[in-house]
């Protein structure tokens, strides 16, 4: 699964970074162009197509009636899946989700769940018996780094696009917009030697020592974090990432709301 890189390229990238430069000319804590297109998938209850540089992800939302969990009988159910299909990278393989896809799905899931993005109480149809189950499916078509953000922002935009198909069921009334309470934005940093970079491309991820995803909501609170890879962050590093995450999160949140044609939630 791991993307491999030659020593020549590695040296080149490390030298660039030492000089304070990135391969595409960005500043260290600058984001790539982000295109968000909601509603591209007809049969989905909600969807969003994300292009973050050359990273291309589609997130689709499907809803079905099911049983609530026994410990939350008055709430709907959220479930997030990610497939790293072999279309997206020569190193992805067919088959059940591996470790990377599992981590990706769980990190996106926690951002949405712990950030209380969806008002799941509004998804209960009959306490303990029937509730809407929301499937968030992440489909990665082209992989040029930073899947965490592309997928997490895609999930957020797809949820904002989603409609509960109540009218398809008997006696459940009209369709209604999925009730969204918070807009959570993940931002992912990597550390290469002593330098912290935001929104890394694939080549940068290949040489990264450590990775940190910070998800914040519109109140500027932190709702989820995930460190990855073998390297380390200092406590001060994490403080720096959190500050930058709040700033850029604010911008990206506004962009997501704009394309969704929604005001603040």
């Amino acid at each position: 699964m791991k993307e491999i890189i030659s020593n020549i390229t590695k040296d080149y990238l490390n030298r660039l970074i030492k000089e304070g430069k990135r391969i595409d000319g960005r500043d260290m804590l600058e984001y790539r162009d982000l295109e968000i297109e909601p509603g591209t998938i007809g049969p989905a209850e909600g969807s969003a197509e994300i292009r973050l540089g050359d990273t291309h992800v589609i997130v689709g939302i499907k809803m079905e009636l099911g049983e609530p969990y026994p410990d939350t009988p008055d709430k709907g159910v959220l479930t997030t899946s990610a497939e790293l299909i072999p279309m997206a990278s020569p190193h992805y393989e067919s088959g059940p989700p591996g470790k990377d896809a599992t981590e990706l799905a769980r990190v996106v899931d926690r951002g949405i769940r712990e950030g209380e993005v969806v008002d799941t109480k509004d998804l209960c149809v009959e306490e303990g018996e029937k509730a809407w189950v929301i499937f968030i499916d992440i489909h990665v078509l082209d992989f040029d780094g930073n899947l965490m953000d592309a997928s997490g922002i895609g999930a957020m935009a797809a949820l904002l696009d989603a409609t509960v198909p109540a009218s398809e069921e008997e006696e459940l009334g009209d369709d209604y917009e999925l009730p969204i309470e918070h807009v959570v934005i993940p931002t992912t940093f990597t550390k290469i030697k002593d330098q912290i970079l935001l929104d890394s491309r694939l080549e940068e991820e290949k040489v990264a020592d450590a990775r940190l995803t910070v998800s914040t909501n519109e109140e500027g609170n932190i709702v989820a974090m995930q460190k990855g890879l073998s390297g380390v962050f200092s406590y001060e590093d994490t403080q720096e990432c959190i500050k930058r995450s709040k700033e850029i999160g604010e911008e990206l949140r506004q962009k997501v709301l704009d394309v969704s044609e929604k005001d603040k939630v």
Binding site: I5, G25, I61
Partner: protein, 256 residues
């Protein structure tokens, strides 16, 4: 094919979506749409949205599956969970396995596989939105992605279906026509030789109806072939305008 409790052709001979009996749904194809893949293409066919990517020729793993005399063409047909009204559970079902197999065989014919012994040529067909006729659309767009990847081929495969609805033979069944019609005949054609690399049939047809269906479908494949070539022509002209920003020393990149 389904039961017959729906009128699919109106008094004027028009179909539900207003098409004539010999009319294709709107088709648009774009080549070269993905960065990582060696070749790629995207097709919009009616309400079908399908992406195809090609990787290879590359060394085949596991080794015992290698063919010492030629490349093995492996098409994977996969439907996204959100591509259909009722969510599809991720992972291959029996239908996907069968379609992957027949699309692999259909594409194998046109590729000069002897040039790449012990290799694999992987073709990934991702159905993002499905609305009847995905295997034909998938085979059509996969051929373009193979060309985009520069795989040496004798031709492309153009593919579409004809079928029977309300007792009448028509071209390119839409979703309701597929559900409530009486027969469906998807074909894959080598346009230069008019030979069939894909042929399936379901339903109930007399010999005469079969022949009518084949004529409609084979004719339409030639139209689709034009769209495939246009997409490639468009792709090459775009390439000339673009300038790649990034200049990583490419000779150094190894892939594990």
């Amino acid at each position: 094919m389904g039961s017959k409790d729906m009128d699919l052709i109106d008094e004027d001979g028009k179909r539900l979506d207003g098409r004539e009996y010999d009319e294709l749904r709107p088709i648009s194809i774009e080549a070269g749409v993905l960065k990582r893949a060696d070749g790629s293409a995207f097709i919009n066919w009616g309400k079908n949205k399908i992406m195809a990517a090609v990787y290879g020729p590359r060394e085949m793993h596991p080794r015992h599956a290698q063919d010492p005399s030629k490349a093995v063409v492996q098409a994977r047909y996969n439907m996204a969970a959100f591509s259909v009204p009722d969510r599809k559970r991720p992972g291959p079902d029996r239908r996907s396995v069968e379609i992957g197999k027949i699309l692999s065989e259909a594409l194998d014919e046109i590729i000069f596989v002897e040039q790449y012994p012990r290799s694999t040529i992987d073709v990934f067909i991702e159905v993002l939105e499905a609305s009847a006729g995905t295997r034909c659309a998938g085979l059509t767009v996969a051929s373009v992605a193979l060309s985009d990847a520069g795989i040496p081929m004798s031709d492309m495969i153009a593919s579409c279906a004809a079928g029977k609805i309300d007792g009448q033979v028509v071209l390119d069944l839409g979703k309701n026509e597929d559900n409530y019609g009486q027969a469906d005949v998807p074909i894959g054609l080598v346009p230069r030789t008019d030979e069939l690399t894909l042929l399936q049939m379901d339903g109930d047809l007399t010999e005469e109806e079969y022949e009518q269906a084949m004529e409609l479908a084979m004719d339409a494949c030639h139209d689709i072939y034009k769209k495939q070539k246009d997409a490639l022509r468009e792709r090459y002209s775009t390439d000339l305008e673009e300038q790649e920003f990034e200049e990583i020393p490419q000779e150094g990149i190894e892939e594990g």
